[in-house]
Amino acid sequence: MKDLHKNKYTPGSKSFESIRESLRMKLVKGKAAKWICGLLMIPAAMLITSTGNQEDRKYTPDPDPDKELASFNIAEGFEISLFASEPMVVKPIQMNWDADGRLWVVSSESYPHVKTGEEANDKIYVLEDTDGDGKADKSTIFADGLLTPTGILPGDGGVYVANSTEILFLQDTDGDGKADKRTKVLTGFGTADTHHLIHTFRWGPDGDFYFNQSIYIYSHVETPAGVKRLEGGGVWQLKPKTLDLSVYAKGLVNPWGLQFNKWGASFLTDGAGGEGINYGFPGATFVTAPGAERIIRGLNPGQPKHSGLEMISGRHLPESWEGSVITNDFRANRINRFMLEEQGSGYVSKQMEDLLWTKNVAFRPVDISLGPDGAIYIADWYNPIIQHGEVDFHDPRRDHTNGRIWKITAKNRPLVKVPKLEKADLNTLLESLKAPEDWTRLQAKQVLKNRGAKDVVPALEKWMASLDKNNKDYYHNLLEALWVYQSLNTVNEKLLLSLLNSNNHNARAAALRVLDAWSDKVPNVPSLLAKAVVDPHARVRLEGVIALRKLNSPEAAKMALAVLDFQQDEFIDFALWQTMRELEPQWINRLKQEPAFLGDARKTVYALKSVNDAEAVSRLVEFYKNGQVPEEYQKDVMNSVAKGGDAKALNVLFDIAVNARQNTALELSTLEDAAKQRKIKPDVNLDRIAAFATHENDAIAASALRLMGYWGMENQSNKIVGLIQKGDKNIKKAGLNALALMNSDASKKLIAGMTEPKNAPELRLLAIGQLASFDADAAAASGIKLLQSLPADTDPSEFFQAFIGNRKALGVLADALKENKIPEDIAKTGRMIVQRQLPWYRHNDDDVKNLKTALEASGGVMPKVTMKQDLHPQEISDLASRIKSTADAAKGELVYRKAELSCITCHAIGGAGGLIGPDLSSIGTSSPVETIIKSVIDPTFSIKEGYELQRVVKKDGSEMMGYLVSDGISEIIIRDVTGHETAVAKSQVDKIENIPGSLMPPGLTAGLDQKEFIDLIGFLSKLGESGDFRVPNVRFVRRWETVGSDRALIGKLKTEGLGHLVKANVKLPAMPIYSKVAGDLPMDELPVIEVSANKKYSVVKFDIEVISSGNVNFVTNLPAGVTAWAGQKQIKTNGNQITTELSQGMHHVTLVIDRAVNKDGAISVQIPDGAGNTGQTRLVMGK
C-alpha cells in the first residue's frame, strides 16, 4: 500500500516556503529555531519545554570510543573491537542482519520524548563491512522521519520497522539504497510509554514474525481476521502475508529479549523483571499479565534485569559454549551468559561467568546478536541515563548523539565465511539449511520463502531425498525442511509424520508446533495428539497438551489429562491447567452426563480444580469427602472451594472437618477464606464449630474462634469471652477479632468490657485495639488511661498500630492526646510508629500531623534529625560528589543492614529481603547518585514499574492500600505495607485506583549521622558494580532464619540435644536474616546459644524448593563445625560438602554452627549447578 505518511510532505512547495517565512518573521526572535518537517517552525521562546536539572554533568563519561573500549573487561579467550560508532550509527535500539550479511540498526535520537515543536527524525542505518576487515566501513541511512522506532527486521524484500503505534514495511524499489515505499502493515499498538513500545522483532524458525511489547502498552490491532488485543506485556506472532496475528505469550514487565533455539524452543528476557531467562511456549503466561490467574516463573529467580537475548551457535565460538545464551545486564554494564540444559518439559538455566563487564556507566548493551561471521555483536545505546520517569525526558545528561556496535570474537578461532544468500541458487540455499550457524539457516529459510513454493518445493524434495539417514543431524535437516514448507504455506503431511515419529524428541516437539499450525489441513490430528501426550519425553507431552486446545472437543480434554500418568513439572502443570480452562465449555457438560468421562478420580479432580465454576466445586468437595483427592491436589482443591464454593459445598466441607478430623486446619482456613472473601458460609448446624475452639492446636482453635465471628454466632459469645480470658495472646486476638466480626451491640459491649481496668493490661491493650475499629472515642479514652499506668515492660506498639490503621480512630486519638498526656517513652514509641508505618502519602494529612503534634506534646519527639532531609539541588549535588570521593561502601552495607532503618524489611537484594519495595541489586549501575539520594529522602521521587500504589475499594466500602501482585480473572492479590498478601474476590471489588506515591515512609535516614548517610548511599550506588557489591553469579542461600537464645531453649538443648531444634511442632524464637550482597552471613550478627561453656551454637535455617527429585549438594565455606538437617533428617557432612537426596517439594534445611569452632567470620552456603546436583532446585527468596 502506497500511502501518504503523516510526516511525508513535499518540500519546496512555494506556499510552504512562504508559511515558513511568515512564521519566521512572526515568531522567531533571534533564538535557535527548530523545524517541523520543513513546514513549520516553532520558536523555542514560544514553546518552553522544561529542561530538567542541570546537575552533575560529571556523570557523563568521556564519549571517546577508545576510552570506552579500554574500560572493558572481557572473559578469558575473547577479544573485543569496535565495529561501528557515531556518526556511522547513533543511538542503536535493535539490530538485525539481512540475508546478505548487512546489519540493519534502528535508532532513535528523539527517545525518550520529542520536544513539543520538534519533529522526530529517527533513522534506520545499514552498516556494511565492504572490505572484509571486520569493521563497518559503509553506513547508509535507509530511512528517516521515523518517530521513536524500536524494532527492525529485514526480510520479504524490505524491512519491517516498529514506528510507535504502527509496524511499517519500508522498501527500496529503485535500488538507490533508500526507502521509497512505505506501507503500514499493522496499526493500533499502544504508546503510553516509549520504553515499552513494540520491539524485539524476530523471525521465528517457522518463518513467522515475532515481536514483543511491554507492561504499559495496551494494543488493539485490526486484522483481516478481526481485532486482536493484547493489554500489557507479551509476545505477538504474525504471518506477514496474511496478517494473521496472535498472542504467543503474555506477561513480563519489559520482555526485551526473545530468541529460539535450533529446535524452535523459545526463551525470553525481561528488562525490568528479575528471573533471568524465561522459558516461553504458546500460551505461556508470566508475571504482570492482566487477567492471569496463574503464571510461570523464570529460570533464574533473583537474577538481574536483561535486555536482548541470543543463542550461541556456530563454528566460531568455543564448543563448550554450545547450548548457552547471552544477554545484556544493561543496568550493570555487563554481558551475562547462561547455560541451558533440558530438564523435564523445560530447561534449567545456570549462570556462567560474565562475557564482558565495565565500570563505564554509559555502556548500555541493549541488543546482542551473532553475526553472519559467527562473532558476537553488541548494540551499545551509550547513555549514562537509562530511566524514564525519574530523570527528566530532556535532562541534558541524556545522550542523543553517540552509539556503538561492538564485536566480540574468540581468540585464535577463525571466523565463519559470510554467506551471501539473497542471490544464491536454490542448491546453495538448501545446503545452507545444514549450516551449524543458526543465522545462516534462518536467513536461508527467509530467502527460500520469498522464492515461492513453485520453484522451491521440487528442489526441496530432491534435497531431502539426498540426505544421509545416518547423519546425526538428519532429523534436524528434515525439521528445517519442514519449516521451509511451513513458511511456504505448503503442507507436507508425509514429512510432518516422519518427524512426529522420529526418534528425536526435539524433532517431535518441534513438529507438533507445525501440526498445530496445520491442524485444519492434515487428517488424524486427534490420534496424532493422543500419541503426543503420552510421549516418553516431557517436552513432547507439553507441546501435545498445548496443541490439543485447538481441537475444541471434550475428547481433547480427556486426551490431555493422559499426561498426568507421567511425571509432572511446573510447565506441564501450567499448560494442562490452561488447556483444561480453555476447553471447559467442551467438557463440563459432558462430565455432568458421564461422571467418569475424564477418567479416574485424579484426572477428574485435576480438571475440576482448574476451572472457576460453582458446579465444579461441588463435585470437588464430593471427591474430597470420599478421600479421592490426591494429597498434592488438596491445597488447590481447598483454594477452589474458598474461591467458588456455595453454601452447599461449604456444608460438605464443614461436615468433613467435624467428622474426619484429619486436615482440620486446612479445612477451617478454607471456610475462613470463603467467609472473608465472599461472605459465604455453611448453613447447617454451625454450632459444631464451638468444639474446635478449645482444640489443642492453636491454629485450629484460633481459626474456629474467627469463624464464630464470621458466622455471627452470638450464642457463643460467652464461651468466646471465657477463652479470651484464659487463652494465650493468639487466642485472645482471635477471640476479640471474632467478637468484632459479629458487629452486634452485644458483642461490642463485650469487647468494651474487656478494656476496663479490672482486666490484665495485656488483654486491655488488645481489646482497646479492637474497640478502636468501632468506638474510637471510647477506645482512645480508655487507651490513654491504660497507657498512663502501663507496667514498664509492656510493649504498646499494637495499641498505636490499631489506631493508625483506621482513619477515624487516628483522628480521635490525636484529639484525645491533645487533652491528656501519656508517658514520654510510650509517646516516643508511638511517634516512631507513626513515622515508620504510615506510608508516604499520609504524612501530609492534617489528622496525621495532629497526631504527631499531640505525641510530641507528651515528649514523643523523634530522635534528633542528624541527617538533614530537605536538601536543595545544590546540597544534593555537593553531597553526591562527597559520596563519590569519600563513601565507604562496606560500612554503608552495615548501615543498610541496621534493623531500625528497615531497608531489608522492604527491599530485596538478589531476590532475598522484603518485597514491598523494588529489588535493589543493580540500583547503583542504573541510577545516578543524585537520583538515589533523592529517592531515599523523598520516596515518591521515582516509582518503579510494578510498584504503583493501588487503592482497592471493596463493595462493602472497606479499603485496602498496597501493590497489585496479581490481577486474575476472579481475584486480585494485594500486597500491603507490611508485605502481607491478601486475595480479594473480584466480585467484591468496587474499584481499583492507582494513587501517586510510595509505601516507603519519608525520613527513614533522618537519624543517621552524615557519615553514615554518605556510606549508605555510597553502598547503594555501588550495588551492581563488579566486586563485593554485585550479586554473584553462583547461587548462594540469601534468605535465612536464625534462632534467638532463651532460657527455655537452652534447657531443652541440654536435655534433648541439638535434635530438639528440628523436632516437629517445636516453636523456636526464630527471626529472619539475610546474606550480605556477596552472599555471606556475618557470624557476629547471629545469636549465640550458650548451652554450656564449651557448647555454643548459632542456628541458621533456610528453605529450598525441589522441582525435580534428586541429589542436592550444598557447599559451605566452613570446613568443620557444622551439623545439618533436612527436615528432621540429619544430613552427613563431608568437610564443606553437604549432600543429600531430596524429593520434590519444599524442604527446610537447618544448620547448627559450632561457635567454639567457628568463632567469627561469616557463613555462606552455595548450591552449585551441575556438580553432582541431579535434583533441580530453587532457593526460596523474598521476605
Binding site: M1, K2, D3, L4, H5, K6, Y9, T10, S13, S15, F16, I19, L23, I36, C37, L39, L40, M46, L47, T49, P112, H113, V114, K115, T116, G117, L147, T148, S164, T183, K184, T187, G188, G190, T191, A192, D193, T194, Y216, Y218, H220, V221, E222, T223, P224, V227, R229, E231, L243, H388, G389, E390, F393, S942, E948, I992, E993, N994, I995, P996
Partner: protein, 405 residues
C-alpha cells in the same frame, strides 16, 4: 491590427460551475455553520483518515466562507464502549476516557462510525452494540451537538470465502441496526457500506482488505458528501466559439488577428476548492470538472492557468470536454490538505501522547511538567487552523486557451 471583441454574458459574476444534472433531490439539508466543531468518532475508519485528510478537506472546502474546525478522535480497534482506549490504570476506565475525549473535543457536530469491530461478535453482540450506540448519542445530545451516524465499511477483499461473506453479512446487519437507531433517534444516517462495496468492484480501495487506502478515502469523501445530501462536485464550463465570438457562463475574450482565431481568455472562480486526486487515479464522473469548448477549428490547443499549462487537447476533445486537474485551486487544495494532515498529526500527539504514563497518567508526578508541552501544541493547532481558514477560499483564476498546432 488586432481586433478584440468582447461578448458579455448576462449576470456578470465570476462564476462558478453549473451544477451537474445528476445532483439528487435530497431531503437532508446538512450544512456546517460558521464556528462549527466537527468531531470524527469511531474506529480505524476515522483514525486512518488522519493519514489522508480527504474527509476533512471535503468538509472544509465545501463552505469556503465558514470557519469550521475538526477533531479526529477515531481509534483503531475501538467500539462504542471505547475498549481500545484501555490503559494500564483505571480510573479513568477506557469508557471514561472516551467520554472525556468527546467532551474535550467540544463538538457541535459528531460523526460516529462504529460497528465494524462490534460486527465481529455477530448477532449475539447486537443488543449490546445498540445500547452503547444509544448511550453515545445521549452523551452527544447532552453536549448540545448534532450526531450523524455512519455505517461501517464492508470487507474489501475481492476473494470470496465463507468467512468473508459471513463477516460481510454481519456488517450489513450492523449497518441496518445503525440505520434503525438513527431513525429512532431522529439522526442523520450515512450508508457508506453499499457505495463502498460498489466502488471496490472497480477500483482498488484497500490493500489489506479491511482498511481504505488513499483512493478509498478519496471516494469515501465523495460518498459522505453524497450521503449528506450535498450536491456533487462535478461541474462543467461550456464555452462555444463561433465566428470569433465566444459564449460561456462568464465573459470570454477572443483574441484574433483579423479573421484568424488566436485563442480565448477568461477568468473563473470556483465555488469551492476541488479534491486533488490520489496519484494514478483518473477523476471519477461525480468529481469531474471539465471545460467544454466547442466550435474550435481543427488543431491542438493548450490551456494555461496563469503561467502553467494545465491541459493540452485537440479541438475534438475540447468539444467533448477536457478534465481540469491543475491550476491555482488544485495547488491551494493540496496545500490545504497538507496543513490539515499536519494539524491532525499534532492533535493526535496531543490527545494520545507518547509517554502518556509519565505526563498525564498515574506517574505524572514524575514528568507531569511536560503537560505544558502538550498544552503548547494548541498554539500550533490554532496557528494551522488560522492558515487553513485563510487558504480554503477559491481564488479567481485567469485561463488562456492557445492554439499550439
Amino acid at each position: 491590427m488586432r481586433k478584440i471583441r468582447k461578448l458579455t454574458v448576462p449576470g456578470y459574476i465570476a462564476l462558478l460551475y453549473f451544477l451537474c444534472s445528476f445532483s439528487m433531490a435530497q431531503t437532508n439539508n446538512f450544512e456546517l455553520k460558521n464556528n462549527d466543531r466537527v468531531v470524527f468518532l469511531g474506529n480505524s475508519i476515522f483514525e486512518n483518515e488522519t493519514y489522508f485528510g480527504y474527509l476533512e478537506l471535503a468538509l472544509t472546502t465545501r463552505w469556503p466562507d465558514r470557519n469550521v474546525t475538526f477533531r479526529n478522535i477515531g481509534w483503531t480497534g475501538d467500539n462504542v464502549f471505547g475498549e481500545a482506549r484501555s490503559y494500564f490504570t483505571n480510573p479513568p476506565t477506557s469508557y471514561d476516557l472516551l467520554m472525556e475525549q468527546i467532551t474535550n473535543a467540544k463538538p457541535t457536530v459528531v460523526f460516529i462510525a462504529y460497528g465494524g469491530i462490534e460486527a465481529q461478535n455477530g448477532e449475539a453482540g447486537k443488543a449490546r452494540f445498540k445500547d452503547g450506540l444509544n448511550k453515545l448519542i445521549d452523551k452527544i445530545n447532552s453536549l448540545g451537538a448534532q450526531t450523524i451516524l455512519v455505517s461501517p465499511i464492508p470487507l474489501l477483499t475481492r476473494t470470496d470465502s465463507d468467512n468473508i461473506s459471513k463477516q460481510n453479512t454481519q456488517l450489513v446487519h450492523y449497518s441496518a441496526e445503525i440505520a434503525k437507531v438513527a431513525s429512532e433517534r431522529g439522526k442523520l444516517f450515512v450508508d457508506i457500506l453499499n457505495p463502498m462495496k460498489e466502488i471496490n468492484e472497480r477500483v482498488t480501495v484497500s490493500e489489506n482488505g479491511i482498511h481504505l487506502n488513499e483512493t478509498g478515502y478519496y471516494f469515501l469523501a465523495n460518498i459522505l458528501e453524497k450521503g449528506l445530501g450535498l450536491p456533487a462536485r462535478a461541474a462543467e464550463v461550456a464555452i462555444s466559439v463561433k465566428n470569433n465570438v465566444a459564449e460561456g457562463p462568464v465573459p470570454v475574450t477572443v483574441a484574433s488577428t483579423g479573421k484568424t482565431f488566436d485563442g480565448l481568455s477568461f477568468s473563473l472562480r470556483n465555488k469551492m476548492l476541488p479534491l486533488p486526486l490520489p496519484e494514478g487515479l483518473s477523476t471519477p464522473a461525480e468529481n469531474r470538472q471539465a471545460f467544454k469548448i466547442s466550435g474550435l477549428k481543427k488543431g491542438i490547443y493548450s490551456l494555461k492557468a496563469g503561467n502553467d499549462i494545465i491541459a493540452v487537447a485537440n479541438a475534438e476533445d475540447w468539444a467533448k470536454g477536457v478534465d481540469i486537474t491543475g491550476g491555482l485551486s488544485f495547488q491551494k487544495a493540496r496545500q490545504l490538505r497538507q496543513m490539515i494532515l499536519k494539524k491532525s498529526d499534532i492533535f493526535f500527539q496531543q490527545y494520545r501522547p507518547l509517554n502518556r504514563t509519565y505526563i498525564v497518567g498515574f506517574r505524572k508526578y514524575e514528568q507531569g511538567r511536560h503537560q505544558e508541552g502538550l498544552e503548547n501544541m494548541n498554539i500550533l493547532i490554532t496557528w494551522l487552523e488560522t492558515q487553513i481558514n485563510s487558504q480554503r477560499t477559491p481564488e479567481t483564476q485567469d485561463y488562456q486557451l492557445i492554439q499550439v498546432k
